[in-house]
Symmetry: C2
Subunit: 104 residues, 2 copies
DNA sequence: TCATTATATGTATTATAAGGAATATTTAAA
DNA sequence: TTTAAATATTCCTTATAATACATATAATGA
């Protein structure tokens, strides 16, 4: 299924093998914001962009008419990254997601 | 050059031929927010998502390693859309952009 | 020029995200 | 189980985005 923005970014973070604390440090935001965002809570665009940059991802607006093409392009490659101790963080998750914080 | 998020969304709006007032009405946010955002100001993620939905675009986080591929995919097609009276709004702009509001 | 449409701003109030720091929970490794 | 690491939450304060108008400023077309 198509992951929401926060799900995708969490997956990205885990794929890079960085903790929320580390992501927060790199982006200059609080660990709290990382958690809030990843759980679907609301954050400001500036906060999102800082986090995105820390995770080396670009936030791109794609017309729905084009999303299909992207799917196939971004899909096919979704391996957690064999870095570090092979099982530090991340392995715990997948993309899992069930929370409460609401958004639009 | 690679347009920033707000530039891209403004271009999208104009390409669809909708005014800020109309975009605001459709998304349920204020025209003020549309203006603020398009000028590079900060807005909440929920506000951005509402606007994006109103403009029928998805906000997708793309790993930098993949952006190149997308470029070629999203590029090549950038025609303002021949809809409406052929010269209602939009024709006035292109993607233009120079403002003051800051962001991250 | 005048009227119209679109976008940028102004003010005041309210809602809420962010900052700071700590703590409670959950998850997994030793 | 004990420890450690990571994530979710809490409290309080402050900054600021969102709301609700109301205008002011363009930019267009008649």
């Amino acid at each position: 299924m198509k992951p929401s923005l926060h799900e995708a970014l969490r997956a990205r973070r885990l794929a890079l093998g960085v903790s929320q604390v580390e992501a927060a440090r790199r982006s200059g935001i609080q660990q709290r914001q990382v958690s809030t965002f990843e759980r679907g809570g609301d954050v400001t665009l500036s906060t999102l962009l800082k986090l995105a940059q820390a995770l080396d991802v670009e936030i791109i607006p794609v017309p729905r008419e084009d999303t299909a093409k992207l799917e196939s392009l971004l899909k096919a490659k979704r391996k957690p990254a064999p870095s570090a101790s092979s099982h530090s963080l991340l392995d715990r998750y997948q993309v899992n997601d069930d929370a409460e914080p609401s958004n639009g």
